[in-house]
């Protein structure tokens, strides 16, 4: 297998504000679902406040890797990690941390919108409530901020007490994004967030992701290569649990270094 990881020449200490700072670094990460090895020694940086896309054919491990970031695998028995994901600027290993602590710092949006069976207000406030932020004024302010970030405020500001299920699919997904954003996570993970949505809703979400990246680090899994090309700055191509190639999105799509990458991008398989 050809690996081609573009290493940054500067020190990867994630100093915020540095032009080439990292927010996280995946180091030698392997993962097993019971006996099945889903990830093989993945080495990959996550750049601070940039959008990193994970692409590849079905079953290549991109969603598996994404769920390692917020330790969602810990919910189910039989899963096993090996290696590290270092989180900066603290320089701690996510894999060894308390999973709840990880989830309080890193948010996730799922493929199928999953708002709680509650009002819009309660949904967005969920992450705040769980952190003990319950004072009405603070919560209201945060909710408005989060809904604006998710480009949903204008559509729902008059019906915050209404049920979340009254919203359309695209709106529900933006609600879930607002919900994940409200507690101001350090990183937000998006697992194929638009695959269940129509093109208009998809476009709206792609726009807001680009805006989000100004303040939050984004890692997005997508099976839609054009989407990756549109909104990410860095892309990692995965195949059968291995990172085949990683680099700046523009370079990877126009001049892929590995043949497998080229085959996937040109549609020879996938």
């Amino acid at each position: 297998m050809d690996y081609a990881i573009k290493k940054r020449s500067a020190a990867c200490d994630g100093a915020p504000g540095a032009a080439n700072a990292y927010r996280a670094k995946v180091m030698g990460l392997s993962f097993w679902y019971r006996d099945f090895r889903a990830l093989h020694d993945v080495e990959m940086p996550i750049h601070d406040r940039k959008v990193t896309a994970l692409i590849g054919p079905s079953g290549c491990g991109k969603s598996t890797l994404l769920r390692c970031f917020n330790r969602l695998h810990d919910l189910y028995p039989g899963n096993r990690y090996q290696g590290e994901i270092r989180l900066y600027p603290d320089d701690v290993n996510l894999i060894a941390m308390d999973p709840m602590m990880v989830r309080l710092r890193i948010g996730m949006v799922f493929q199928k919108p999953n708002p709680f069976p509650k009002s819009i207000h309660e949904n967005v406030a969920g992450g705040l409530w769980v952190r003990g932020i319950r004072r009405r004024s603070v919560v209201d302010e945060r909710i408005e901020w989060a809904l604006r970030q998710a480009a949903l405020w204008d559509e729902v500001k008059d019906r915050l007490q209404g049920s979340a299920y009254e919203l359309s699919g695209g709106q529900q997904q933006r609600l879930c994004i607002a919900r994940a954003l409200a507690p101001e996570p350090e990183m937000i993970l998006l697992d194929e967030p638009t695959s269940a949505l129509d093109p208009i809703a998809t476009a709206k979400i792609e726009d807001l992701v680009t805006d989000l990246a100004k303040t939050v680090t984004v890692v997005i899994v997508t099976h839609n290569m054009q989407q990756a090309a549109r909104i990410s700055q860095y892309t990692g191509y995965f195949h059968l649990g291995r990172l085949i190639e990683f680099g700046e999105t523009g370079d990877l799509f126009t001049h892929p270094k590995a043949k497998m990458t080229e085959d996937y991008i040109t549609g020879r398989f996938g």
Binding site: P16, P89, D90, M101, L104, R105, R131, G132, E184
Partner: protein, 312 residues
């Protein structure tokens, strides 16, 4: 808004305490769940052990073959278990065909029609009606209006009506869980609806239906209230006429019209007496009842478990 990293740093200080507090609540709740489980298990064990201790010494061949008597030491449950067996025979003979037929109709044939809705609402409603109301129905209608008297037949009828919803629901769920491919395969061969149901779907649904029937019957065995209401007597020192007789036509149905008692009623009668000796008899009868119903429930669970494994 504040820079992301300072928020993170600030949040960390609170987060650890928060996590610890939340975890504690989590643990307390898990403890509560286990406590409930433990108490429930303890109660059931206490019940079984208490019954066994009180009643087991009284179990004997004599006990099983004697009639009730005013002397506690001589009293037995012969008329009671014979009565139970006969009543269960009638119950099964009525509940199984009617319940399965109704279940099949509702699941396979019923069109979207307000009549279907009425039927379904009724089945659901009847499942929640107290058993003693069924007894009143049988008393007013069967015993008096139809002048059928206080007989085994009527007891079987009322118990059949009581467990009908159980059989219907079990049949429906069993049919519902049959993979679509079996039904489609049969139609593709040119079979009509009844042929499909009779030759392919009912056999496939058999374990589920059987489970439901067994559970229903185990309920019927333990039911006391409706049978008392229709007038089953509590002191029966005779047996119903035997179904098989020496002369022509060899089988008679007189027993259906006989007076009778059943096991739970006998137990109730004994425990209603103040004398402790009768309580011992009640415990023994209860033990037999308990073993019977537990065995039947266990059988139903095993059937369902086996069916689920082979279905994979």
């Amino acid at each position: 808004m504040s820079a992301v990293s300072s928020t993170a740093a600030m949040a960390d200080v609170n987060l650890e305490g928060l996590i610890r507090r939340n975890r504690r609540v989590d643990l307390v709740f898990a403890g509560a769940g286990l406590l409930v489980l433990f108490v429930t298990v303890a109660m059931l064990s206490a019940l079984v052990i208490d019954l066994a201790i009180d009643g087991a010494p009284r179990l004997s061949w004599d006990f099983l073959t004697s009639f009730p008597s005013r002397k506690a030491a001589r009293a037995g449950i012969l008329s009671a278990w014979v009565g139970t067996s006969l009543v269960m025979l009638v119950t099964a003979a009525l509940a199984v065909p009617l319940g399965v037929a109704a279940g099949v109709y509702l699941e396979e044939y019923a069109p979207r029609h307000w009549i279907t809705d009425v039927i379904e609402i009724n089945v659901t409603n009847l499942a929640g009606v107290p058993s003693i109301i069924y007894g009143l129905l049988a008393l007013g209608l069967f015993v008096h209006a139809f002048a059928m008297g206080e007989t085994i037949l009527v007891a079987g009828m009322v118990l059949a009506l009581l467990i009908l919803p159980v059989v219907i629901v079990a049949t429906r769920e069993a049919i519902r869980s049959i993979p679509l491919v079996i039904r489609e395969g049969s139609y593709a061969l040119g079979a009509d609806q009844w042929q499909t149901v009779r030759m392919y779907m009912l056999p496939a649904a058999r374990p589920g239906i059987l489970t439901g029937v067994i559970v229903g019957m185990s309920r019927a065995i333990g039911e006391t209230a409706p049978v008392i209401t229709i007038g089953a007597l509590t002191f029966i020192a005779f047996l119903p006429p035997a179904p098989v007789s020496g002369g022509f036509p060899f089988i008679n149905f007189d027993w259906l019209l006989a007076e009778f008692t059943v096991m739970p009623i006998q137990m109730f009668n004994w425990i209603s007496r103040p004398q402790a000796e009768f309580h011992v008899n009640a415990a023994a009868a209860g033990l037999i009842l308990l073993v019977m119903t537990l065995a039947m429930n266990g059988l139903a669970i095993t059937i369902r478990y086996r069916a689920r494994r082979t279905a994979r």
